[in-house]
Subunit: 716 residues, 2 copies
């Protein structure tokens, strides 16, 4: 006798619907990647179900046993609920029921969590903070919905009245400030409470989740969609946090669409949710997120949150590029959308996802600066990140106008990311390390100007949050991609302005980076422009005085105390070159046009690091002193190949032999000679570049359309 | 009209025979990996043949234009010759002919090479040293043989009399000391001259190539086979040089076998050549050679020399394990043996190559110590290298009894390898860097004992070559693999003895390393035992005093001048732990059993390095002072996983809680507690362990069969 459970009038009806379930049940008994994923999950859950259910009295904070156990429990209930729907084996529903009933016993006995932070506005009961409790509810309410059809009326009553409703009330009216907050924590709370409203037939809860407790529209899920993303779907804290923020949005939106299709949630704000998912993908290189702000570098597009996001994006659009990402993720989720992805992948429908050059406007209005990504495929897969973006709240770094560069699968000009060993107890309990504040967030840890050895906004995040840079322009055409941004509030009386361009030299099948950094100040300052590179120094074309017997820290504050000064040199007027070799086997030469007044300081991270917490990476700082005004002009040039395995080395030397900077009205003219080929790079810096601009250069009539033109002068 | 060239009475008949050619011609017109390889080579050669032939007057030394051009020419002639045989298109033969005739014009005009080294015993004419000239002949004589059938009698006459015979005579009777030398340079010379003898019907040359110029048997190819390899096929300089040395052996032997099968060259010295090929493969981990001595670390089993070697090995044995290696190499050579490999791969006949635990005896008698490789698959692919091996001539390092450890695809306990950026002009002309002598070769750059901050043999390679360590025993059984070696000549009056074991803890599915290093001296000394690890320090279980504001070099000589002293600590009696995290995402804890008198010095490579030539890797040195006798006892334990991408960290802490060392007669008894499980490790150190040895331990009757036994004490 096979009983058929689960397809009831109204359950399940959150992320997964009854019609999804019917399709999924067919798929698990056929060959295919969906069935494989099912088999894998079943094996994993079966192992866990063979062990006794543990629902411990809450005691430990983040990372501790009871904390981790309750996290494990909600995932287990969710997974077992899915399995029950797919194979209709009541064992799985019973397991979920038994665990829910254990929580029914426990929850009413609980006061606030003993390990909550002192004076915390958002303590939990099962967890030390209510954020975790909201995540618990988002999973548990779905698990409950999935097994609802197999529960007795009595169990339904006690689970709803003694557990799920109290939790939902605790997270909504019990904590108005968190629930109403337009913030990621609020998204989890509104998602949990709203979904509880759907499942337990409390339509008012749904309204409150959408519009805040007073239904004012000042908070709630829709306001979060309005404010937490820019119009292009960029999340202010950067991709590392964006992917984390995505999950409650994707989950609750799917539930809203299944229950209230007339709300057209996926069309809300011109399809903001899809844009947010897509932007998260765009903010990656070679599968890993660009590590701006407090990001852990190994986090990438295979993160579970984005697996859910990509499944939704494919389901909404059927764009085969998302299948490319799904294939990379190699993780099929057991949902209706997951099934669509699995079947499309099995049919071989994937097509390459298109990574593009984009300026992602920052802030809810998209006008708080921008995060700029430039890409080129001319000489392999290259990307440049330029950050005239807003501070990005508490996890933001003091890195206005910084940049990074990627080539052939590797980071070349780097950002330290966060100083943290996630969950490694021996490393400051797995939390952000003290060096995250003292080094990683500081301006000198980035590739942008530091004035008087002080970080931007004097290291004050509140000030930073109020003062975004301006993106003056962004343009992309056949010659490359260019952007210009400035900020006058990072330091009093100092304007920082940077133009960065990723430029194609088509004749040489080469892409280079042009960097023009202008500093104008009302008084004299010391200006430092660091460049953090990954690789081994190959050489410089100027003399270095190297500290061979003893090293000292470069400074005592604002991150300088963490840099060993390895050597220094002051190149004469002309081209100053620094070359390094990256582990990708390619050489990189950074050439500066100097007037003899820039000093180069070579550094290694690791001073004042009593616990060996920092990675010992290399960099150099260009320094000028007592300057009211200075322009740092440079070119980064990838070249050659080092292949000791096959015993050849190609083009280990820079081919840039000439670099001349000039101005002609609003035009910046950079003449370079690369591999003997003279090129003219024209940048239109005028306020409006919407029309074609013609000009004379060495008796030739040239023109620039938009912001950037590149002329191979030999072609005339 | 299609003319059929090339299958003449006697040409080609070196590495490739006429019957090979017939098979290969069939294969190139069918689908398959051989045809693909043919197409690739043809495209490459066609591009070159479209350019004018260049045979410049010799001028430049290694790396310079004329040097590289003549190297390119012999490869081109060889490749074009092969293509001619395969497609019978006379264009290819004509190209070889034209280039040979250009050499016919040039060669008779040449005196010794202008860039030869002063007082050199072995100058060339086309090249600065005759080694390159011999390599030229090995390739060119084959190219000539391949196109012979398409040449006119007049061309044959001028090519033989004005070019090939003079070159062969120059390399044989013209340079007796090189030709007769039992050394890799001699192998190239004898291979070239011997093959020239076969092709140009000079049987005396073959005899001289085999037995030396006087046919005395004191030199020549056979003597080289006798002396350059140990009975197991290990080449004294290590795998980096072994793979290089292989090519002339493999090439000439194949030619001998094709021309004089009655010499049974492949059976010579119990099949030494096949053993040499196989040993080269065994001396690799995850595709890369173990980087002992002057090795460049990225060199691996896909090196062209070993592609030829593996093709021969498969042809001789049809062992499907060689196909596994060939598949990894992903390079099909266009020869009869290459065809066999291609066809077998296409048929899917490959089976996993078996990497084994072996002690490779060193020296021509196999008794000059040994290079020991231990492997375990219990917890993934692990390997330990232990080096009670001989000095290995001029490229050898002062690293007696050093070790290395590999796990999950990465080097964990490392050897610096050679300090060199091959062919990178900016790095000391691409030659071995000065730091290769001053650091990489020195004892402190290795994981073995340094007495009084002086390198083994006081850094004298001549002394080193005369004094090999002794391998006292090697054993491998179900409990793991163990070896013991000693040396009393590295320092006067000091005996160094080390026991290293890779031990399986089956119940825990874990493999650990046991290291017992005994030093016994006639006077008091300072003893340093460095350990160079790859990864980031996670922590120590004892206090460190870290140099946070300033770093100084640890010493002034013998490599110590290149180490920054980052910090120091003196753990109390008991277990002293140092943990690090490798980029493979695994933790490693090194636990020492200390008595409170060992100081730990934490170091980073990079002091006294004015050109940033060294990699800034980490290490620690255990130091005791004023000791006549000391035993360093330690365990290396791989554990856990750091996965910040998936946001979990498992078992970041060492599970080793107990370590007790005892002796009972000839038995060393190590009791450890790992993850709460007590284990007894028994090492039989007696002179003869051929019989089973029974003993009492805590009222239990135990026994050890061979050298090693491991008891899970809970099982009693
Ligand atoms: Zn940063
Ligand atoms: Zn070495």
């Amino acid at each position: 006798l096979v009983l058929s459970y689960g397809v009831q009038a109204s359950h399940p009806s959150l992320v997964i619907t009854q019609s999804d379930v019917l399709e999924m049940r067919k798929a698990v008994i056929e060959q295919g990647s969906f069935a494989t994923a099912y088999g894998k999950l079943k094996a994993k859950v079966d192992l866990q179900m063979a062990l006794p259910i543990e629902v411990p009295v809450p005691k430990d904070g983040g990372g501790g046993y009871t904390h981790e156990r309750h996290k494990k429990n909600y995932q287990l209930m969710y997974d077992a609920g899915i399995l029950f729907q797919l194979n209709q084996d009541k064992t799985y529903a019973d397991y979920v029921r038994d665990m829910l009933l254990a929580y029914v016993q426990l929850y009413p006995t609980l006061d606030l969590h003993p390990a909550r932070k002192v004076k915390s506005q958002n303590p939990g009961k099962l967890f030390w903070q209510s954020l975790n409790e909201a995540v618990w509810l988002v999973h548990t309410i779905q698990a409950y919905d999935l097994v609802y059809g197999a529960l007795s009326a009595q169990d339904i009553d006690s689970i709803e009245t003694k557990l799920l409703k109290p939790v939902a009330l605790f997270l909504s009216q019990g904590q108005p400030s968190t629930f109403n907050k337009v913030h990621n924590h609020g998204t989890w709370a509104t998602a949990g409470v709203g979904m509880a409203g759907y499942v337990m037939d409390e339509p008012e809860w749904v309204e409150k989740a959408l519009y805040d407790l007073e239904k004012s529209g000042k908070g709630g899920f829709l306001r979060q969609l309005d404010e937490l993303f820019s119009p292009q779907g960029y999340y202010n804290e950067g991709p590392y946090y964006q992917r984390y923020a995505l999950l409650p949005f994707v989950t609750f939106a799917k539930a809203i669409d299944n229950n209230d299709p007339q709300r057209k949630i996926f069309e809300y704000r011109d399809g903001i949710l899809l844009k947010a998912i897509d932007t998260t993908i765009q903010l990656s290189y070679d599968g890993l997120f660009f590590p701006i702000n407090d990001a852990i570098k190994s986090k990438g597009i295979d993160t579970i949150e984005l697996v859910h996001g990509v499944a939704l994006a494919y389901s909404l659009t059927e764009d085969p590029g998302y299948l490319d990402i799904a294939r990379h993720q190699d993780h099929i989720i057991l949902s209706g959308d997951g099934l669509k992805v699995a079947q499309a992948l099995d049919k071989g429908l994937a097509e390459p996802y298109q990574f593009e050059s984009v300026a992602f406007g920052d802030g809810s209005d998209g006008k708080q600066g921008a995060l700029v990504i430039m890409r080129s495929q001319l000489a392999g897969d290259q990307a440049l990140l330029f950050k005239p973006a807003a501070q990005g709240l508490g996890h933001g770094h003091f890195d206005k106008l910084t940049w990074q560069f990627y080539d052939q699968g590797k980071e070349i000009v780097s950002d330290y990311g966060a100083a943290r060993f996630l969950n490694v107890e021996a490393k400051f309990g797995g939390r952000y390390l003290p060096e995250n504040e003292s080094y990683a967030k500081q301006t000198v840890a980035h590739n942008t100007v530091v004035v008087d050895e002080t970080s931007h906004f004097n290291g004050d995040v509140e000030v930073g949050n109020l003062n975004a840079p301006t993106l003056n322009y962004f343009d992309t055409n056949q010659f490359g991609t260019i952007a210009n941004g400035d900020i006058s509030s990072a330091y009093p009386g100092v304007k920082l302005e940077r133009t960065l361009a990723l430029i194609n030299l088509a004749e040489l099948e080469k892409t280079i980076v042009l960097d023009l950094f202008d500093v104008r100040a009302s008084a004299e300052h010391q200006l430092d422009l660091p460049l953090h590179y990954l690789g081994q120094l190959i050489g410089t074309n100027f003399e270095l005085s190297v500290n061979t017997e003893q090293l000292s820290a470069l400074g005592s504050n604002n991150g300088y105390q963490h840099l060993w000064l390895k050597g220094r040199g002051q190149p004469e007027q002309g081209l100053a070159k620094v070359s390094w070799l990256n582990e990708n086997g390619r050489f990189y030469t950074h050439t500066s046009l100097v007037k003899g007044n820039e000093e180069f300081l070579f550094t290694q991270i690791g001073a004042n690091d009593p616990y060996f917490n920092l990675r010992n990476e290399q960099g150099f700082i260009r320094r000028v002193k007592d300057k009211k005004q200075h322009q740092f002009i440079s070119i980064l040039e990838p070249h050659g190949e080092y292949n000791p395995g096959k015993e050849y080395t190609l083009e280990a030397e820079s081919k840039l032999t000439g670099l001349v900077h000039g101005e002609q009205g609003d035009l910046t003219l950079i003449k370079i000679t690369m591999a003997g080929m003279p090129y003219l790079i024209v940048v239109n810096q005028s306020a409006d570049a919407s029309t074609q601009h013609s000009f004379q250069y060495q008796d030739k009539s040239l023109s620039v359309n938009g912001r950037l033109a590149v002329y191979a002068l030999n072609n005339f």
